[in-house]
Subunit: 228 residues, 2 copies
């Protein structure tokens, strides 16, 4: 794309012919903004300004801010590479999928918050669910349990990312919370006091890995409640 531009920059008239608006370019611009300015830097007005137009113009392509959010999420989900089925055992494959999803949400910090407040329904999301279900079935987990299990696993991953993302957004408040935990009264809360270091410790990845194992093992070990 950038080759052949060696020649000479052809000076365009006053404005560079202004790239035409489209749903795609709006989504792409919004993702750029969230990447460089974070969740709180995203607004329809900023997207519009970046596209050299007014906010009102976006409403031809996007229903509202909420709609833009879910479009952004599904677009971003498209970047996830899913492991070939049967290339490894189901458990490792499941972990790879969930960790990929988690890392995507980590990368663009605002995205996690979007994922938490939006029910994703796009094709890219369905593709991920499909692969998770396949792994669970291969693990011998019965259908009904797999359906509920997928929910539990994805909700956890989304929540971890969202929590992390609000940590980034407001470092002071979080440190305040960590401080509070460190200074907890040994008399009033002896167990919290004794375990505070462990509660604050653990690199994210090790902890998430453990939590995913916990849920997989739990799903395997826990029967569904009996229908009445």
């Amino acid at each position: 794309m950038t080759n052949k531009s060696k020649r000479e920059i052809i000076s365009r008239r006053d404005r560079p012919a202004k790239a035409p608006l489209s749903r795609d370019v709006i989504i792409a611009t919004a993702l750029n903004i969230i990447e460089s300015e974070g969740w709180s830097g995203l607004s329809l007005r900023k997207v519009a300004t970046a596209l050299d137009t007014g906010a009102a113009s976006l409403y031809v392509y996007v229903d509202n801010l909420q709609d833009l959010h879910s479009l952004m999420l599904d677009r971003a989900l498209g970047a996830i590479r899913l492991p070939e089925p049967a290339v490894t055992n189901w458990r490792d494959r499941l972990k790879v999928i969930l960790v990929s999803y988690l890392h995507l949400l980590y990368e663009k910090p605002g995205l996690a918050r979007i994922a938490m407040s939006t029910m994703p329904s796009g094709a890219n999301y369905l593709r991920i669910i499909e692969h998770i279900l396949a792994a669970l079935k291969e693990g011998g987990i019965e259908d009904d349990k797999a359906a509920w299990g997928v929910d539990l696993l994805t909700l956890y991953v989304t929540a971890v990312a969202a929590e992390q993302s609000s940590r980034d957004d407001q470092a002071e408040v979080v440190n305040q919370a960590d401080q509070a935990l460190r200074q907890v009264s040994a008399l009033d809360f002896p167990l919290v006091f004794a375990l505070k270091e462990q509660m604050l410790s653990g690199e994210g990845d090790v902890r998430v890995d453990w939590a995913i194992d916990v849920m997989i093992n739990g799903i395997l070990a826990t029967p569904l409640p009996a229908h009445e």
Copy 2:
């Protein structure tokens, strides 16, 4: 408090002597607003108006909106009644605590969203953590695992409530997502198609109960990663 008011309402002058501002009254007012108008109805300006003053006046008692949020959360958490230790077995007690927490977040819908974006650090939160740790220890779960387990369990409960709460806030979008799931292509996503009913089914409480069991069983069954 309301007795003895039978007498006669003493007519106060022009304005009712205007209740003095205080941190407490600000928090209480904010909780009232969130209860009656939901998350999106809460703003510092509305709290101020309800207290018959300007938004600027609140800044004497509250650092900013974020600060008010966490004060609200800890205040609300104070309403949770924790079961007496040793009154039932640890597992049931643990479930009661988590379900109480969940139901509190359900009741005042905006609260779940606050809980998701705020690291609670108040005394009422610590009290809850303390009781959860006690239950886990009684269940024979070693210290380090209990510390991580508490995190997993509370994060899940908070996330479920937050998800539910954004469902309430934007019914149309959710129905759109449910519709999308119902109309999923059997060719492209065969497993999702086959399991879509199960994924949408399950009264919240049964599902949450199952998920909590899954996590408890998983914690019991999953060793921590080895330290290096």
